[in-house]
């Protein structure tokens, strides 16, 4: 058993419950003991840094200070959300590198009776821990239901491989960790060229046209490679590609159907966990058909409502029908 200080982040408790549930389900058999940092706060995502740098870093550093207090022998902070992971490691990195900056953040923390010694903690992402600490051999041992026949696109996104302050990931643009992990589960992994492209981030709320184009690139590429599902490791990526896929389809008049799953959900399936314990069914683009291909029964999507046909042509008032002429009008229409 190895102990980790766990920083869940806000998404894991609201939009990405499937990620948290499946992560817990796979961490136990692998001997990963997660100890949640007590009373953690939001990392500020990319938003606080945009407004005010010192408060933004102080907000992040409060979590590091709490983690250091509660460490109790363990040094590693584990985050599963890419943005949380990057923010925590960014604050640690800059407080360590720029001593004056570190003192400034610590004097803000002192107002709340806290202190963080930069470099004291090691901040790691869940994928990094799975690949480099647990190891593929141990993961392979636990596989009881190989995902043979499931064709997946592995998508890492931006904030885990870049800027990667501690050089933990194999490459900033073409890393192999997630591919290898999914292959170890028995899945057929396509050589996805956009594996570290951007999902649009907060652009869905700021500039939807830009966001839809970035989402389209990823979904259409995965579709062209005939992937059954796209596998993500960040709540933001999953939300953008899954929840906004319908709107993107509407914007481009396309009809892509690409289920977006968390890698821990597929690990859980391969480990023989029940789909309902892994958050299946919470995705807006249903993975039912994809999982059925390998004989896994996940919650069925609600039958699609028939879409009302939009009238084509110019908006015109309905033809006036006089009493007595109704029959002729109907006959004309049917002819």
């Amino acid at each position: 058993m190895s102990d980790y200080l766990f920083y869940p982040g806000c998404s894991m408790e609201s939009s990405a419950k499937a990620y948290e549930a499946s992560m817990e389900a796979v961490c136990k058999p692998l001997g990963i003991n997660l100890k949640e940092i007590e009373d953690w706060n939001c990392c500020g995502a990319t938003e606080y840094l945009s407004l005010d740098l010192t408060p933004a870093y102080s907000l992040i550093a409060r979590n590091l200070a709490l983690a250091q207090e509660q460490a109790n022998g363990t040094k590693t902070v584990l985050a599963a959300c890419s943005a949380c992971y990057l923010n925590l490691s960014k604050a640690d990195h800059y407080m360590h590198e720029d001593k004056a900056f570190g003192r400034k953040i610590n004097s803000a923390l002192a107002a709340g009776g806290l202190h963080y010694d930069p470099g004291q903690l090691v901040i790691r992402h869940l994928l990094d821990v799975m690949f480099n600490e647990v190891g593929l051999d141990k993961i392979k041992e636990k596989v009881v239901k190989p995902l043979t026949g499931l064709r997946v696109a592995s998508y890492i996104g931006c904030m885990v491989p870049r800027p990667d302050y501690n050089a933990r990931i194999s490459d900033t643009e073409y890393p192999y960790e997630l591919d290898d992990l999914l292959k170890a589960l028995g899945a057929e992994v396509i050589d996805f060229p956009l594996k570290t492209a951007c999902c649009g981030g907060h652009m869905t709320q700021i500039g939807p046209a830009t966001a839809f184009e970035l989402i389209r690139r990823l979904i259409s590429a995965a579709d062209q490679y005939k992937a059954d599902a796209l596998v993500a490791l960040c709540p933001m990526c999953q939300m953008n590609l899954d929840a906004f896929q319908g709107q993107m389809n509407g914007y481009f008049h396309t009809s892509y159907h690409m289920p977006i799953l968390f890698f821990t959900q597929l690990m859980g399936i391969a480990f023989g966990e029940k789909p309902e314990n892994l958050g299946f069914g919470s995705e807006l683009v249903s993975a039912h058909a994809a999982m059925k291909r390998i004989g896994i029964q996940t919650p069925e999507p609600a039958p699609a409502k028939p879409v009302a046909k939009k009238p084509s042509g110019l908006p015109m008032p309905p033809p006036r029908v006089r009493v007595g002429q109704q029959n002729t009008a109907n006959e004309e229409a049917s002819e």
Partner: protein, 200 residues
């Protein structure tokens, strides 16, 4: 050489006043660590790597040229930093190792201070996000999306309704804000002190 020395080693005695510095120096000084900003060779790798460059009025390369030329007003008015999606492609590809994404954050801070009010959609999103975090200590995604869409994308509401329903039913998200963290007072004190430090 002297200019470079000022950028990387701010004088340790007495506070450095921003108004005494060139625009390039001010941006560099306000960015944590050394962003290597003065090293730009105008190669354009940043703009060519940027997924949202098409939405920007100036590419990042042009912004760096403008910073060097001291075009303060134009840089503060530009939407470039606000369109940054923080994907860090430019940062890892830059041959001069300029911390471009971090510089973009600094520029956003500065343009809010300058109050040019150019990109309300982006800065309002950040402000709403943070006001929720400052109230609860956690982010509140549904509330945030609601505020932002009512304020800036009112015509989009009908098209996002099915998605919002899916969020609540399938993803099990709550309409209610998250529970406040226990150390809310502590967090408020920290942020208050941090804001004072920022203003110094």
């Amino acid at each position: 050489m002297t200019e470079q020395a000022i950028v990387s080693d701010p004088p340790s005695v007495g506070p450095v006043k921003h108004e005494d510095l060139s625009l390039l120096q001010e941006v560099a000084l306000r960015t944590p660590g050394d962003p290597n900003l003065e090293m730009c060779i105008q190669c354009g790798t940043c703009g060519g790597s940027c997924p949202s460059a098409s939405a920007m009025d100036h590419t990042p390369r042009a912004i760096f040229a403008m910073l060097r030329a001291g075009m303060r007003e134009d840089v503060m008015k530009s939407n470039t930093p606000w369109m940054c999606v923080a994907c860090y492609y430019c940062t890892v590809r830059c041959p001069q190792e300029i911390h471009i994404t971090d510089v973009m954050y600094t520029l956003k801070n500065m343009s809010l201070e300058a109050n040019t009010g150019h990109n309300g959609t982006a800065s309002d999103f950040s402000k709403t996000f943070i006001s929720l975090v400052e109230t609860y200590g956690r982010s509140f995604e549904i509330g945030l999306a609601g505020f932002q869409n009512v304020r800036h994308f009112i015509t989009r509401l009908p098209s996002i309704t099915p998605m919002a329903v899916g969020m609540l039913t399938k993803k099990g998200m709550s309409l209610f804000p998250p529970k406040r963290i226990k150390g809310m007072d502590q967090l408020k004190k920290i942020l208050k002190r941090a804001k004072e430090l920022e203003a110094e």
